[in-house]
Symmetry: C3
Subunit: 437 residues, 3 copies
């Protein structure tokens, strides 16, 4: 029952710092949907948890898609007439449009301008742009910088390669007592963006590390994949594993200070959906639970009708709904250690819930058992807690007819899952409950 041993406040604080440090370490790497940036990232994740890495060749057919060429980049710049770098990849990998084709030539400002991307509404920020499935080249820069470019010739250089290679992803599988799996997925394809999604990578890695030390009911599979093409590739190669998934979460954008956002799976009231709602409600933190829509991160693929998996998405501020999203302002200041730690604890709570959510049967279903002579009115400490426990004992006894899970009981009674679970444990110990098959 190791799940119950949650990190205390001090441990959580320390954990937040560790996760933040990991985000900072991953931040400078230039990642894309393929290439050495992903490999380097997975290497660092692999220092935290046992990780198996997979390389899928370019050109591999994965359902309706094809694994693309591999992209790598050495350097890139725009130089003005004086030979000074006015846009410089070495300053930030966001300056190059991801998957840009190699280029090396001299262009007029007019010609250059067709390849420049800025954010006029945030003149000091650099946007994040990609061109995965259409061959093109481009640079991203601040509007402020662009406005100062003189009308002269510029030398542009993108020292990149776009060639047959591999798509790289990794898995960490923690076997549990059951073959049924809890899938936790995060994307590793974004370059220097801290919240989207180094926060997800860090929290997922540390959750895997934490769970690896516990005795688990479910098997937990953590996957670190590039967005969209990565989940499609994983699903295409793992249909058998997908069929074992009974709970799942896509973890993304969990380091900012926004309210928690849980997006339901396509199924809408799967155990993960109901459980995550319960966890957030009980945590009494600011949060929202939103319905599934086929727009978002990799839940789009996990919830496609041919899979329809019970996979929701766990975030803080939803993608696209905070101004720093997909800009250079999604940096190490946007993410905070305590935000990461809070996200970690919510994930631990949902793991705790599904680990302990069972259907029991009252062994004494006719009238209440006499709790007093068993000392069951005093399971735990304080007065308020005793009243809650008394109610929880009565609710569990009343509802445990073989058709209601502990989560059902928590929802109907309005009590916290944790109280219901402790009541069930006490009743089980006294032989007043038994497990169903």
């Amino acid at each position: 029952m190791g799940i119950g041993h949650r990190p205390g406040a001090v441990a959580a604080s320390e954990l937040g710092r560790e996760m933040y440090q990991f985000v900072a370490e991953l931040y400078p790497i230039c990642r894309s949907i393929t290439g050495d940036g992903v490999r380097r990232t997975l290497e660092l994740v692999g220092r935290t948890v046992p990780l198996e890495t997979f390389e899928v060749p370019s050109g591999t057919q994965v359902f309706d898609w094809t694994v693309p060429k591999e992209w790598n980049i050495g350097d890139a710049w725009v130089k003005d007439a004086r030979g000074e770098r006015v846009v410089d990849f070495r300053e930030s990998n966001l300056h190059v449009v991801s998957y840009s084709t190699p280029v090396s030539k001299t262009v007029t400002l007019a010609e250059l301008s067709e390849h420049l991307f800025t954010l006029p509404e945030h003149p000091h920020w650099v946007p994040y742009r990609t061109s995965y499935y259409r061959e093109a080249w481009g640079f991203c820069l601040s509007e402020e910088r662009r406005s100062r470019l003189a009308d002269e010739d510029y030398e542009v250089c993108i020292d990149a390669s776009l060639e047959d290679g591999h798509l790289t992803y990794a898995e960490c599988l923690l076997p549990g007592r059951s073959e049924k799996e809890f899938l936790i997925s995060c994307h590793v394809c974004h370059p220097s963006l801290a919240n989207d999604n180094l926060s997800g990578v860090a929290v997922t890695s540390f959750l895997a590390r934490h769970l690896s030390r516990l005795d688990l009911r479910y098997s937990y599979r953590f996957i670190f994949i590039p967005g969209t093409i990565g989940s499609i590739t994983w699903l295409a190669r793992n249909e058998a594993a997908a069929a074992r998934i009974v709970h799942g979460l896509v973890v993304a954008g969990v380091g900012d200070g926004g309210p928690f956002t849980y997006k339901r799976s396509r199924q809408g009231s799967a155990e993960i959906d109901r459980g995550m709602s319960h966890v957030l409600k009980q945590s009494q933190t600011s949060h929202q639970v939103v319905d599934f829509s086929p727009y978002g991160y990799d839940e789009r693929q996990f919830c496609s009708p041919g899979f329809d998996l019970p996979v929701g998405r766990f975030s803080r501020s939803p993608h696209g709904e905070y101004p720093e999203y997909h800009t250079s302002a999604d940096d190490l200041d946007l993410v905070r250690p305590d935000h990461l730690a809070e996200s970690f604890l919510q994930l631990l709570a949902i793991v705790d819930l599904v680990e302990h959510n069972r259907i029991y049967v009252n062994t004494n279903p006719k009238c209440e058992p006499q709790l007093g002579r068993r000392g069951l009115y005093k399971v735990t400490g304080g007065q308020a807690d005793q009243e809650v426990m008394q109610l929880a004992l009565l609710w569990v006894l009343n509802q445990s007819d073989g058709s209601h899970s502990l989560l059902d009981i928590a929802e109907r009674s309005g009590l916290a899952f944790d109280a219901v679970r402790r009541a069930a444990a006490a009743l089980l110990e006294h032989g007043l409950l038994e497990e169903t098959n």
Copy 2:
């Protein structure tokens, strides 16, 4: 797919004027549940659409009812002691209680008063009264006129006949690709009342004319019947046709300026009920959707438990809820061309919806198909529309698992049916959807 070719603003305006002209042409005719007024009305409807007229003999048993005697009227008046017509049928056919028995005699004011009906709360209006199933005679007049009647003898004359004859009704059937029928019913039994229900007769006639030019999925049956006894007679004679009805609407009171009112069928969530709700919601006009009740127009009979047809009622201000209802104030000023046109367009929208509402199956259900390489992110025009279409494509793909219709998808996504339908058409064209049987 001709349904898609909806009348533009100019055409709708012209159509409104045509329908209003038709209401004005029908207005002077003295209709009742039987008789030559109905015949003359159907003759005029028949100039607009191909119509088959039926004559059912008095005395015919129709379920629990009997087709009544036929009533016709030539003239009617009340003359004062000076021989002047103080109440005159020639001024307005509302002055005579419909189905009055013939009378010709001299009476005192006291005796006359027992046969006079006024509206004291609207002293200048003449009420509309009937006495179909109890033989009696009477006159309706304004309270203002009645209050000026001197205490003297009056000569009363109702030159009417109430004899064995026929009940007359008509049908316009537009065969579609399916034998399944969409029934549209309106009542033709009210005399000079413009909104109730010449507005319904006009809109129904012009909808029939419009649809008659199109290639239709469903067969459309338009029936022009006297209220209550007409629908009972039609159902008694057409049980086989009734069994083919999959959608239906009673159209009444659609020319005034009130908000649209849709009254659900007894079934409550039939496709017509959900579709009409969706159409009104999407139209962003003032409207209300109300639950079925067994009180109203002919939906009472269509929704009797032995039939329980998916027939709702489409109106603007509900009967009995506007002051002019069943009075001389329900005249050609209450009804406006643009109100008629708006009603017409709502009916066309629900026809469009049921014509195109199908269940499709995603041919590529595992993960999303790669829409980009098919150019499917640019199905249509403007930027806002493109975002809607992108969402619509994703929703249709995600939900088309053989159990969700396009209306289901529109409801779940919050998108307009029209966007969902266009997305489905585009996906079908690219082989990404296929029809179910």
Copy 3:
């Protein structure tokens, strides 16, 4: 159909006085879960209704419980150094903790204080305390009295016996045309507490008396039992009877002036739950309907999962939610004759509802029958009532397809059950409805 003959306003007022008188007569008796107080109480109930009394020996196993020893008390007091009774059982039986073991000794104030219970927040009230399942002795007194006790020795005496004997309860069974039973249960174990639950005892007794004069559809079983151990004992001895229960109510706390409170059964939407909600809503009195919880009176046992009976609880102010609860302030001033009478009438209304709630079938399901020629538009008196009756007739005809009960129809139409019932009776009389099996 005698249920329809409800007491008029005068009769209800008289009934309220009678019930109040009965409460006053029962008030001084010292009751507990066993003993002569219960016997004396049942003897008085037995003067009002035919009652069968049962004696169950101490030590009898009833499910998980054991019938306890019988407790009786003669006198009890605390005397100060001057020999004056500072706490005196003869003043109020609340002064002794119920089930106190015998004691007779001299103690210091410090020692005494460990056995004294007061209500500091209500310094003039005496609390009600019990110690059924843990042998102990104690006195209850006002905080005001306690604060004046000098620091001296006190003589304490509880002249009680706690010995093998019996648990006593009683039943009044009124056989109806059906063996299916309506259970009405009240607890008789509280000493001088007027609302909790002499009000329940009085209203239950008089309801039994009232129904005993009528021709009944259901059999009615009224049980007068000590709380918790009484319902457990009754269920253990009457499993066959329990299986016949189709409706049930626990009646407690029905004499105060609070709003009516109906607590749903565990089933949640049993006929008693829906019916009671309808009755309270229609009564237009202040009321609340609350969900089941396994905390309360004997509904805890009736609704345990091994029985799961459709038994709700009918109260006014819920137990524990009014300050006088379980104190000496729950006295003859808290309870009023008119409150008792109002409670009685609500119970009579729910009995009336379940007695008449049936599913009928429209014998003329295709279109409406012609009500006019049957004179069915004038079933009853006034104009407003006629409009309601006309609607009720149409609703009953429309919904009576063999799947909707009269309560279903009342709920869907928003009409009072009584109007629906009268409409059904009229239609039945005219052969337009027939009973289902």
